[in-house]
Structures are given as C-alpha cells and as structure tokens.
Symmetry: D2
Amino acid sequence: MRAGFIGLGNMGMPMARNLLKAGHEITVYNRTRRRAEGLRAEGATVAGSAIDACNSDVLITMLADDRAVRAVVLDGQLIPRLAAGAVHISMGTISVALAQELTTAHAGAGSQFISAPVFGRPEAAEAAKLVVVAAGPAGSIEKCQPLFDAMGQHTFVVGDEPPKANAVKLAGNFLILSVIESLGEAYALLRKSGVEPEQFLEIMTSTLFSAPVYKTYGKLIASEQFLPAGFKLPLGLKDVSLVLAAASDARAPMPVASLVRDHILAAIARHGEELDWSAFSKISAENAGLK
Amino acid sequence: MRAGFIGLGNMGMPMARNLLKAGHEITVYNRTRRRAEGLRAEGATVAGSAIDACNSDVLITMLADDRAVRAVVLDGQLIPRLAAGAVHISMGTISVALAQELTTAHAGAGSQFISAPVFGRPEAAEAAKLVVVAAGPAGSIEKCQPLFDAMGQHTFVVGDEPPKANAVKLAGNFLILSVIESLGEAYALLRKSGVEPEQFLEIMTSTLFSAPVYKTYGKLIASEQFLPAGFKLPLGLKDVSLVLAAASDARAPMPVASLVRDHILAAIARHGEELDWSAFSKISAENAGLK
Amino acid sequence: MRAGFIGLGNMGMPMARNLLKAGHEITVYNRTRRRAEGLRAEGATVAGSAIDACNSDVLITMLADDRAVRAVVLDGQLIPRLAAGAVHISMGTISVALAQELTTAHAGAGSQFISAPVFGRPEAAEAAKLVVVAAGPAGSIEKCQPLFDAMGQHTFVVGDEPPKANAVKLAGNFLILSVIESLGEAYALLRKSGVEPEQFLEIMTSTLFSAPVYKTYGKLIASEQFLPAGFKLPLGLKDVSLVLAAASDARAPMPVASLVRDHILAAIARHGEELDWSAFSKISAENAGLK
Amino acid sequence: MRAGFIGLGNMGMPMARNLLKAGHEITVYNRTRRRAEGLRAEGATVAGSAIDACNSDVLITMLADDRAVRAVVLDGQLIPRLAAGAVHISMGTISVALAQELTTAHAGAGSQFISAPVFGRPEAAEAAKLVVVAAGPAGSIEKCQPLFDAMGQHTFVVGDEPPKANAVKLAGNFLILSVIESLGEAYALLRKSGVEPEQFLEIMTSTLFSAPVYKTYGKLIASEQFLPAGFKLPLGLKDVSLVLAAASDARAPMPVASLVRDHILAAIARHGEELDWSAFSKISAENAGLK
C-alpha cells in the first residue's frame, strides 16, 4: 500500500522501516529532515513538508504528544489536504480529548480517522512486535490491516469510535505505572525487613505474577539500574497526566494514578529528568529511609 | 512422618487431608471438634485438646489470625509442652511481629520454629497446589520437606529468620490487593469512556499482563460476581492491616496499602461483610457514579 | 481614576460597582451586554467591545478562567491596544503559567502587568471586603492602590513578579479545600461514633480553630445544606486543577490536592454540578456508609 | 476534694500541681517515684503503689498510651479496689476501643467512669489552660467539675458514653495533623515558586485562617526549627495510629489520616525520632527537591 508517515522518533523510525521492509510505498516526513533522509536508502520517498506526505490514501502520524499533533495536523492544516475518503491513522499516545477533536475534524472534512496507539518499547517496534489497539470505521481498519501487520504482532479492534482506543491505551499505561508503584512499595518493606527483593520477585513471578510486566520491571527496580533510560521520567509524567486528564473528563477518580503522578514529580524534583520512568519507585525506598 | 495439626478451617482441613493422603500420621485438633472428627475416617487421630496435639516431633498450626495463634499457642502454653528439638510450623497469615515473638519464645524453650505461610485459596489447598514460603533453621525445614510436599506445589526458602517468611507473604498479599485496586480504577475509567472492561482485559492478559492474578481477578471484577465469596472482605481488611502494621514497624510508608485499606473499609461500610474481598473494587466504580 | 473593566460576573459586577461608588470613571465591557448596561445608571460608560475598554491608563480584567483570559486578552489582541506605560490588572483566579505568559507579553509590548487575584466570595465583593494579593511593578501597584482600596479591605503585595500572586492565591485556595476535606473526614468518624459534628465544631472553633474558615465551612458541612451553591463544584474542580497544574510545573507533589480532586470528581459524578463546592465532603460520609 | 492521681509525665506533673494549688488533697503515684516525691513539698501525699492511690472517691489517670493504661489499670487490678460509686477519670489520649473496655469494666464493678482527654501542650497544662473534653455519667462529671476547673480553662461535656470523648479528642488531633500536612504542601509549592512561606502565612492568618493552630504551626514549619521538640514524632505516630484504629473500627475511611501516617513514617525513617511532630511537613519539602 501507499502511505504517508509523519514522525520518525524512537518509535516512528523502526515502524516506518518495517513498513518499507514489508513492501509498502512510504513517503516519510520528519521535522528534523536528517532522520527522514536515513530511510531513503531503504526505499522511502522523503517529503519536503508535512503536507507533501498527505498525497496517499493513508496518512500515519506517530507524534510524541498532543502538542505535536496539534501543531502538525491541526494548525498545519493537514486534514483539508487529504483526499475524500482518505484515512488518517494516529498511532502516538495522545489524549482522549484530542482523539475526539480529530474525529470531529475528519468527519467535517470527509476523511476517515483511525486512532491506533501501540503498546511496546522501541525494541518491540524494531521487531515488529508492537500491540496495536485500533478504533475507527471498521472498513478502514480492515483496509489498513496490512500496515498494522507490518508493524505489530497483533491488532485489537475496540470499536468504531476512535477515542476508545486512546482510553484503552491510557488504561493500559496506568496498569503498568501501578505495577511499578506497587513493586517499589513492596520492595521497600522487604528491604527494611531484611529480605532481598530478587528473592521475592522470583517467588511471585513463578506463580501468580508470571507476566512480562512483573519480570521486566521487577528486575529493573530491584537492580536500581535506571540509566540509560528506555523511556524517561518526563514521558512517564506525560502519560500519567493523560490518564488523569481522561479521568477528570470522565468524572472517574483514579487515586493510584494521582499517587503515581506525585511520585514521578518527586523523582524528577530529586533526581532530574534523565532516569528511566520506573525510577519513581525510588521514592518509596527513599521515604523508607533507604539510600 | 508424625505430626500434630491444629486448625481445621477452610484451608487447614484440606491441608490436613493431604498430609493424611500422603501417608503421614497426623493428630488433629480443632476448637469445634466436629470438624476434627470428620478426618478420623481418613486416618487421623483426634486430639481432645490442643496440648494433646503436641506429642509428635512436629506441630503444625494453621490458625486464622494473630488472636487465634496468641490464644492457642502462647496463652495455651503449647511451647513448653513440645519435646526438646521439636519443630513448630506456623502456616497461617500472621504478623511479622508475632512471628518474631514466637521465634523468641521457641528459642527460650529449646524448640525449633519455622514460619511457613502459604499462597493459594482453598481450591489450591485441596489440590495440594499451595505455594509455601518458609523461613527457619535450614535443618528443620529440610526435615519437614515431606510435609510441605504433601500440601504444596513448591516450597520457597527465604532464610533462617522466621519473620522474613511473613514479610514475603504480606508483600505478596499487598501485590494482589494492589492489582484489585488498579483494575477497579482502570475499569471505572473505561466504563465511563464506553469501553467494556472484558475487552480491555483480553488485550492486557494476552500481552504484558498474562498472569493468573490478572486473569482471575480481572474476570471477577468485570463480572461483579462477588457472591459467594471465596475470601470475604473482612479477611481482606485483616490482610491489609497486617501489611500496614509491618510497614509501620519497619518505617516504610506504603501509600497504595493505605488506599486499599480505605477502599475495603468503604466497601464494608456500604455493602456489608459478605462480599468477596475483591469487591472493594466497586468503590472505584461507585465513586465514578456507576451503579 | 479612569479605568476599563472587563468581566461582569458574580464577582466582577460588585467590584465594578464599588469602583463607581468610590468615584472612579469606569468603562465596562461584558460579553453579555445586558449586564454592562445595568451599570450605566451608576455612572459607567458601556464599551461596545473589549478593545473599547482599553483606552484608559488602567485595564482591569475579572475573567472566569484561563480560557476566558486567553480568548479575550491574548487572542483578542488587547495588549497591543494599551497605551505605552498603561497597566493591566488581572484579578481572576488563573494559572501561574498564564500569569507568566501575560507578564512576558506585556514586557514585549511596553505595558505594565499586575496580577492581583482576590480572596472572598460575592458577598465580600459587594461589601468591598475582598482581600487582594498583588504582585507586579511596585510603582504601578502604588498608582493603582485607590482602585484596590475601592474593592477590598486590604492589599497584600508579594513582590514584583506577577505570577507569585497567583501562586499565593492558589496555595490559599488549597488550604481552604483541605479544610473542607479534613472536616468531611472528621465528621464521618464522629457521626459513626455517635457524636454530633456541631458539638465537635463548637469545641474546635472556640479554641485552636477559631478562624472564619472553620466556622463557615464547619457549619455548612454539618448542615449538609449544599443548595443553593455559593460557588459550585465545577469551580472547585477548576481551582484544584490549577493548584495541581502549578504543583506539576513546580515539581512539588501535593497529595492532599490530589485527594481533593478525586473527591470533587466523585461528588460531580454522583451528585451533579449544582451543589456548593464544599459538597465534596459528602464523599467521606458516603464512603463511611452514611446517607 | 480528695483524689488519687496516677501518671506524672510532662502533662500529668503540672496537672497534679494545679490540683494541689487549688487546694485539693491529692495522693500521687508515678512509676518513677522520684517525680512523685517532687510534689510532696507542694502538699501531695505520695503513694507507694498504684493501688495506694485508689483510696479516695476519685482516681485520675494521666497515662501515656493504651499500653500504660492497660498495664496499670486493668492488669494492675485497680478497678476492683475502688469504693462503690467512686469515679475514675482517664485523661490521657487513649483509643476509643480501650475507653469502651474501661466503661464496661467499671459498669461491672459498680464504679463510675469518665473519659476526659485534654487539648493542650505542657505549657497549657502548667497555665491551667487545658481544654477538657469529658463524657460519662452527668452527675459524676458535675461532682468532679472543681477538679477540671483546677486544670483547664473550659470543660466540654459530650454526653454520657465515655468513648465519645475519645472520638472527639482523636478527631481534634486529626484536624491538627491535617493542618500540618496542608501547610507543608502549600509551603513546598510556594518555595518552589519563589514565595516566602512567612509572607503567605501572614496573609492567611490575618484573614480566613486567623486561628492559633495556623499561627503556631505555620510559624514553626516555616522556620523549620523542629528541635527541641514540644511533642516528638513517635507521639504523632501514636496519635494518628489511634485515629486510624478508630476509623477502622467505625468503618469510616480517612485518607488524609492515612497520608499523614505515611509522612510521619517517612520522617522517622529519614530523620529519627527526636524531631517535633510537625517535622513530618519536611517530607513535602523533600519530595519537592528542597533541602
């Protein structure tokens, strides 16, 4: 298929590369042009502007946050440039409210909108192992399935209203953050009781908690190796802020999310912005007087 | 092996039965004698008093809480009745502080103490699939391994200081409680956003969260089938109170545990004491205005 | 003095009226013109547009929230219309971040900016008993003192950087909200213990807690008379959201503010938007199973 | 009047002295006899044992905590030693549950029980300015009024069920603790925003918050002079633990109390046990990255 692709960050770059590998004809655009040029050798067409990436039937955006989507797509007037019936797929983690705004804008312009955020870190993006959560018009999702297949291991469709995919993505991120928080608290108790966290983790993950999220974060938090960061603390703050904004708009209190936000703020205030997002677990250790 | 066994509740009964099935010679005692008599046909000797259950080399207690252990073991003067070198294994969920008190009492009396709380609901006890977390003198644990093998699927040894096993057990219960809380909050957000919790759960448990604890509680909470209870709310309150007592003694703040306690109290205040302990997840739904 | 005044809501209307009573020459503007016309008989000049209110040396805005200030002042291009050296006084409760943005915009345009939010409900505005917290260029504040004197009982100057006044205002609102939360929790405990909240309140306010905030809210919450609202729940949500935004930008976790936000959300979800903002105290009562 | 007085700590000593000054005939007992001897010159009779302090019509106990009351009064078998119709007044801060237990024990023994905890620090005890909150049989309280008058500035009677006085005392302590918490959070925000806490405090206490509790703690927390302690952190932990125990028994969640407990634990874990109880406000500052 032919598609435009805007946003070649840590996630977007390997996603675009996988689309090219799968034989799709991709026109790429990135604010820092150098990154886009890097894909030319792999078959990409490099667009000179975001608008130049809009001349296919499909436009994929993989942008960092609401601000970027707002600047590029809405303020950049991309939607009116799409052909009638063309599909815009937004794959970044954005707010439920912005997904609703994009849905309305596309409906007014006669184009289709799919919200399709993904679960997975850059390594998963490189391995085409992302989990895609998509919502939008069923026919459009079906049409775009080959694109999703090139980037992910599985696509879950959660209905035809795009913002629902963002709600699912945010709820999923919330679960991850709450695992980090819980492990941080449990480890603090154990360390103050003379038990090695690794010993506890082995017991838990060989029984009730035998899931990747506990294995990965459980080991990371026990080792306290928060550098280099896979995903930095300010991105965690962005994610939990999106969760809390959705919770506020939906009138659904989420006290664990509030607590995670407070601990991320404390971690940034005390340790700066470079550590991995799981480093907010340190706050539980420090509040227990551990170094 | 020969052993005394005190405490034939929902957990203790199948545990004692499995010991008998495995060929061990068990003398059982229960406050309500009728339950003990039920095991006679399966080969048990029924003791007329707790003291009568103390004439083997091993005494197992599976009592409900600190109060019961204090009444039966300490106030009941069982420790001085044990033979020199005999082993007492406490398998119920008790406080770290009481485990320390028992350790000291046994040290003074010349007997051995193993703390060996278990993970698993009554079904797991029946299937001899409990997970045993044991701490105490290495030689004694080794000697008692055939008993643990008859009741559980695996024994994790976490050192020779008995209270450490209780710290691990409580930290594990805390992780379970925090999963229930997080799922409750995530589901409230999703339901208010028009997404079915089951759909979200399927995505999560087929990827990062593919662990029994999410599958079991995720389904239970989504269905809101909190009756009949596998484990009632007041037992959840007891467990989180033990976690908080350990946290207080260790000077390790655990804000998620505090939050869980508050939600369990609210659930009891609003819905009584009969619901399954996972029903405190309803508070998140109700605070979001859901029925 | 001559001044423009934009924003004739529940607060702005009596404030403008008091300026007229004190003999100042005021040109008023309000989006809904009818309210502005109501002041003509009291001596006001009615402006046909916001820009027409900018031809004095002083412009006062008393607008409801960031969105309104952004729309009227920034998007409405008022700043470039001010004469060189003219002063803009923003008196509404807005974010620290927007106060900073206005400071920068005025600095670029050669005009002066004073941030001067107020404490007090509409009754205090009518009685010219507001407490003004002002920050900005010392000379400008001095020049405008007659205006502040006409509206308030006292003006506290907290420095020459305008956003500091907003930080003080938000911190003050936070203290009020935390009093409401604490009283709600204390009353729930007392009612479940068979003690009348009024009895407790009398003891407290006749000793350590003899302050208007406890007397006013203590009585209101005990009586549960949340209608008609002096200040509705969504305004409480706006205020606590501003506190949390400031806390996030400053990297200063404020867990009580997070808790208040969650209880306000619950109150709106369960009881709608019409109740007085102090009605979020009901959530503590309801979570204790009280009706 | 003649009365026995047990417990001559920082509070009990000046209370007993004021009873003597007012002309009452007091027999004092203290575990460390030296402190009791110190009152002989002021007219006290020194008892050789707690039981010897029970031969008047009134027995006052001012003991530090539940453990002390349990040891001295219940385990010490004092109640059976009281004459028929004699009155026991417990003035320390103890749990609602223990007050209930004492009520029942006295009812069974034919003696009267008044629970009469006090508000006030040692300076207030010395100045006979304590605030007494009393509950118990109306006739007995009336009879003992001269004693209360000698120790306090005012006696509030909250009914005839003794535990209600304890509920009021604990709810009052909770309000004080929540003021400390709120000020700590507000100050952290302000300091990170470049505003001096003292400046904020002056504004607040000259308007809505003009109460002793804000003036005293507001200044203390702003100055960070937590040594020497008026009342140490572990006593704060004891108090908030009593609040939470009462909340748990009453099924009334108190999330601000949970938060305070966590911050007190963190303060003890990080700074030891010697600081004034208001020092838990430091945790908000430290979590904001302030030194």
